[in-house]
Amino acid sequence: MRANRLEQTVIHIIFFLFACICLIPFAVLISASLTSESAIIQNGYSIWPSVFSAESYRFLLKEPMMILNAYGISIFVTVLGTAVSLIMMTLLAYPISRKDLPFRNVIAFIIFFTMLFNGGLVPTYLMYTNVFEIKNTLTAYLVPGLLVSAFFVILIRTFFTMNIPSEVIESAKIDGAGEFRIFYGIVLPLSKPVLGAVGIFQIINYWNDWFNGLIYITDNKLHSIQVMLNTILLNSQYLMTNVQAADNMVEAGDIPSHGLKMAIAVIGVIPILITYPFFQKYFAKGLTVGAVKG
C-alpha cells in the first residue's frame, strides 16, 4: 500500500513537470496577447503581462462578423469532413483486416503506397481546379489531401486485426448475417476506441488545416478561421523574404504586432481547447468499452 502511494506520487510529479513544460508556453502566449506592444518590444515576453492591454483583441474583434463567419466555416468543414472521412476510412480498413479476403495485401499496398509518393503540388492543383473545379468552394477544404489518410486506415486496420477475433465473424456468418450486417452490427460497435482516437486527430487536422485554403481559396469571404489567422501571420513572413514587396508595402505599415500574433494564436486554439474535453469523454468511454469487451 505504501509502495503504491509512493508510486502514484512519483507518477504525479513526472506528469506535473511535463504538464508545466506544456503549459508555460501557453501562459506566455496568453500573457503576450494581453501585453501592450511597446512593453513587449522593451521588456520581451513574460508569463504575466507587464503592461496590460486588450488592444490586440479589440483589433481582431473590430469586425466580429468576419471572425464568426470564419468560425462557422471551420466548424462546418471540421464536422462534415471528420464524419465523411471516418466512414470512408473504416470502409477501407475493414475489408483489408479480414485475413480471408483475396488480394488484401495488394489492396493494402495500394493504400500504403500513397503515403510515400505524391505527384506534387502543381499536378494536384491542376486536377482539382481544372477537372473538379473546386477553387473557391468549400469542397476545397474537405476533399484534397485530408479525406483518406493511409496512415489512419492502417491504424484502424491494425485495431480490427488485434481486437476483433475472427471467430466472432465466423459465428455471425454461420448465423446467416451478411458482410455489411457483420460490419455494421458487430465490428463498428467494437471499434469505438480507435474511431474515437482517429476522430479526434481528424478533427484537429481539419480544424488546423490552412494549406488547402492557401492553395484553393482566394476569396476571403470563404476563409476558415485558420486560413484567416495564418494569412495574417504569414503576410508578415512574406515581407521577410521579399525585399521589394516589403519596401513598398511597409508604407502602409501593416506588419502585425507581437501581441496581435499571439492573440491570433489564442483565438485559433481556444475552440479546440473548449471542445477537446467534450470529445475526450467519448474517447475515454470508447476506450473503456474496448478494454472491457476486447
Binding site: C22, L92, P102, F112, F117, G178, G268, P277
Partner: protein, 310 residues
Amino acid sequence: MKAMANGSTLKRAMKFKMLYIMLIPGIAYLLINNYVPMLGMIIAFKDINFAKGILGSDWVGFKNFEYLFKTADAYIITRNTILYNLVFIVVNLVVAVALAILLNEMKNRFFSRFYQSVVLLPYLISSVIIGYLVFSLLSAETGLMNKTILPWLGIDPVMWYSEPGFWPYILTFVKIWSTAGYLCIIYFAAVVGIDQEYYEAATLDGANKFQQILKITIPLITPVIVIMTLMQIGRIFYSDFGLFYQVTLDSGVLLPTTNVIDTYVYRSLLRNGDIGMSSAAGLYQSVVGFIIILASNYAVKKINPDNSLF
C-alpha cells in the same frame, strides 16, 4: 494449373463481393487524390514551357536533379535530415511510450484525463507560433534565458541564434515537446486496450509492476509501436519544414546544423520558382523514402511477419 488457381481465386473473391464494394469509395478517392497526380512526376524530367504544355515540353533527363548534388550541401542536408529524424523517432518513442504507460498506471481518473488534455496541447499550435515562443525564450536581448535564467545561474548570455552547436539539442527538445504528447495518446489508447485478464494472471503468478510492463504491456503494444515507427521511418527523408524554418527564424548562420532537404529546396526555389526542380526534389525524397521503408518492412517481416505493414 495456373489458370485453375486463378479461376478458383476469382470464385473465392466473388464471395467477398460486399467487402470489395465497401472498398470502392476509399480506393476511388485515393486514385483521384494520389495516383492521378503522380503522373505529374514527369515534370521532374522536363524543361517546362507552358506555351508547349506540360506534355509537350522538352525532356531534359536528370538535369533538374543536378542542383541537389551540386555542392557539399548535398551531403550536409542528407546527413542532417536523416540524423535528426532518427533522433526524433527514438526519443519520441521512448518518451511517448513511457508517458503512456505511466498515464495508464495513474489511479486518479480526474488527473489522468487532465493530463491527457494537457500533453496534446503543444501539438495544436502552428509552427509559426512555436517559432515566436522559442524566440521569447532565446532572444539575445529580451529572451527569458538571457534575461532571467542564465544571469541567475551566473552564466554569460549566449547568442543562441548564431551558435549552430546548440541547435541539435534545441530542435530535438522542441520536436519532442510538440509531438510526444500526440504519440503518447496513441500509445495510451493501445495500452488501455489491453485485456485486464493478462495482468490479473500475472499478479497471481507474482510478477511485479515492472515485470508486467516488460512482459505484457510492451509486447502487446508492439504492433502499434512498429506501425508508428515504420510510418516515421518512411518519412525519414522528409523533414518538419516548420520546425527547421520557422523555429530557427530562418537564421542563416545556423545552416550547418539546421539545413535539411526541405528547407534547402525551399530556399533554392524561392529564387527561381522552377517547378521542374521542385518536382525533382519531391521525387528524389519519395524514391529514397520508398526504398528505406521497403527495406525496414522487409526487416520487420523477417523478425515477426505479423507486425509488418504489408
